[in-house]
Amino acid sequence: MNRLVVVGNGMAGVGCVEQILKHAAKFEIVVFGDETHVNYNRILLSSVLGGEKAADDIVLNPLEWYENNHIQLRLGVRITDIDPIAKSLTGDDGSITSFDKLLLATGSVPLIPPIEGTKKDGVHVFRNLDDTRALVDRAGQGIKAVVIGGGLLGLEAARGLQIQGCEVTVVHLMDTLMERQLDFTGGGYLKSKMECLGVRVLLERSTAAILGNGKVEGVAFKDGSTVDADIVVIAAGIRPNVELARKVGLQVNRGIVVSDFLETSHPDIFAVGECVEHRGTCYGLVAPLLEQGKVLAATITGNKGPRYEGTVTAAKLKIMGVDVFSAGDFSEKMPGTDVIRYEDAALGIYKKLTLRDGKLTGAILVGDTSDSHRYMDWLRSQEDLTLHRRQLLFPGPSEDAGLDVAEMPDTKVVCGCLGVTKGAIIEAIHQKGINTLAQLKECTRASTGCGSCTEHCQQLLKAVVPEFHEESEKVLCKCLPYSEEKLRDIVRGQRLFAVQEVLDIYGNGLGCEICKPALSYMMDMVWCGDHDEDRSARFINDRVHANIQKDGTFSVVPRMRGGVTSAKELRRIADVAEKYNVPMVKITGSQRIDLLGVKKSDLPRVWADLGMPSGQAYTKGVRMVKTCVGTDFCRFGVQDSTKAGIELERRLEHLFTPAKVKMGAVGCPRNCAEATVKDIGLVGQEGAWQVVVGGAAGKKVRKTDLLITVESTEEALQAATLFFQYYRENANFLERTYDFIERVGIEKVRRETVYASLAVQQGLRERLRKSKRLARDAWLEGDEPRQPTQFVQIEPIEKVCQ
């Protein structure tokens, strides 16, 4: 068998090997990589830098893949020399490997501009996983980072560093960011989006030197100005890595010159990826590499025929909340170019299309890239758009999403990053029995690149697989078009600490009565009090810690743990009712006492006089634990439900939840406190507790599901609190436990709480502990209101009579 040696273990080299494997087995394959990692998705390095993904998450081909395909993988070996006559190569470990065919996929290397001081400690590049790790190690709160280069890579690096806590400045030589992909206007929109995220942008700055004595201290510019820096990232571009090819004597210009069949000037040496120059062009994006790989696989396996004729490239910025897409040639200078523009400065949306002879030649989208697929198709197909002329920027009103997928030809590329067509996806679905997006990703790689085609993939699955359930992408509201699950990721991943910040960056900047309270909860749950709580985003009940009534007065329910009170408390309650002329005193269905009709301005004094904590009867939070008399007095009780209930309430009180949480604890299966229709219930048995969850006795009546049966009271409390925190972290806002359980399924809930690994359980407990530590009795604010005028009736400065 012939030996094929591949130099380069990146996306281009391995991508090509994947294609070669699709042809009849012909080679014994050896792959050399100078990095010590298996092939990973280089496009997602910025997500690793930003902490959104772990290094393992971006692996494309795990070790087993190499083993299963009998590929000999040599990691950490740099090839130093090639003998084209003896057909062998030498590694920096001294090894000599012979080949029959050689594939060069050496990629590119960062371009280091000729400035002084680039060797100093603290100067980084951002090209591979090791660079990324080094940056993650250096980055942190308060660290000053300067990124030289305002292109795609530089901006992604800047945002990643900023998420890590750095104060980031992007320095760019040109007068606009991403000038190769955007025009001046588009660059302006991008700049303000970056600044909105908190990244400082300096344009038209030519770097003169990196300052510091051995270690980076700052950056000096040719205009004489300087900025302080602890780290400097050079992202000034890349150049093809052609060193080896030059040594061998292959024809090299900027890149290794290849034919339409990806042949070099040596008959047994081929090249693919960023290191090649095809028809005068060197590509630095992923889509061309994969197209080249396919062609080369045919050539090298003796199936020479398919030609590579160049790629219409598109660039997409992968910064969440900063949508930028650019494709083709967007310049307006060529005569006969029609320009179509749309701009909404307030929303930060800018779209520009260029057409020549009725055909699309270029597209720029900033702020809204939802139509990028349509434009890519038009660029590739070079379809005459004269008839679509009025619908170029906005599709006609009747066009529905399902139709979109149905009308797509099989040859249409759905995933531009990895070059997966609609036909390939449908074939995979049928042949491999795929019915989830995750399986589709694994099998076809579609949507594993930038992820922008996820929606199309889901639509295809929906159309082809009858049992496909869309991964519940219910958006929160029209202010903020993301699912709550996604928003939790955004809040966590992008380290957003204020509701208004989320709305400004990801939404319409306004917010409404739906998203504001939902985001307020999310902030509290994700950051457990380490955030800037914005009371204006909360419902009035959560500003004044009482429940608003139809006449604008409020109801006051003190906490009475387990429904147990005392003569002293009752006396104080009675005194308060008289002193403040409370119109109604009512026993609630939850074993508590409700004082109805209290004026807002009386609330702080009412709380002080009661001397009891808030019962949270006004909020999406822990309401109460209803108990029966348990073993102390009852003839039938077999468990001390009163004590257990009081303890459960103590452990969870003052916490916020997605929707109200009502609990119950009963000492025997007679169930006098109705624990089996509560969100969380403890049902005493002889020698055991049943922990039950997801009950309802409101608009809907639902019997709880059994979570687990345990022996001791402590175990029962532990199981209940595990479920409680799991619900807090995973339910949508306003979703009661019974709806949550029906959506998720009790088996999954069990698997991820009481049957989860110790580490997972500890995680849940630790986060609950942190929240609990920071949770306060809201009524303590009576003495020190968050807003001085919260409870005070403002008196006009000037008096006027009627």
């Binding site: 202010c479 208004q500 306004l510 917010g511 409404c512 009565e513 504001k516 309270p517 914005d534 009371r535 204006s536 985003a537 909360r538 419902f539 009035i540 500003r543 608003i548 139809k550 006449d551 604008g552 807003q787 001085p788 005028t789 009736q793 403002i794 008196e795 006009p796 400065i797 000037e798 006027v800 009579c801 009627q802």
Partner: protein, 139 residues
């Protein structure tokens, strides 16, 4: 309230701008009206503190852009026009009042009896809204 010929419109000083936190409302009682005043960050707007639906206190609502959502049943009132914007059926408008800020004080233009007018130091120039950016300090 009824207006008669002895009434005149003028700007009345109400309260310190910082008393109304950013994106919140507060109610005041003056000249026979209960008025909800909102701090929208770049300006203040004022309407009658009564939802046209069931009389809910608009001052206690969540602010959404230049609208407020009544805390009782989520009717949404445009604070600039007084119109209810999220109901299909016709509903009456909420009365609105011109509001402005001068020297850090929120002012409302109200109809007041003439004989009770108290001369202002700088009367009625407050329509031009001064720099408000410093006012959101109340947040």
């Amino acid at each position: 309230m009824t207006q008669n010929h002895s009434q005149t419109k003028r700007w009345v000083r109400i309260t310190q701008a910082k008393d109304i936190p950013l994106r919140e409302g507060r109610s005041i009682q003056i000249a026979g009206h209960e008025i909800a005043i909102f701090n929208l960050g770049d300006r203040f707007l004022a309407v009658e503190n009564r939802c046209p639906h069931r009389g809910g206190p608009l001052a206690d609502g969540i602010v959404s852009g230049r609208s407020v959502v009544c805390p009782l049943h989520a009717w949404k009132v445009d604070l600039e026009t007084g119109r209810v914007t999220n109901r299909s059926e016709e509903s009456p408008c909420v009365k609105n009042f011109p509001a402005a800020v001068q020297d850090g004080v929120v002012m409302l233009e109200l109809s007041v009896p003439e004989d009770h007018s108290v001369a202002l130091e700088a009367p009625c120039v407050a329509r031009q809204i001064p720099q408000i950016s410093s006012l959101s300090a109340g947040d």
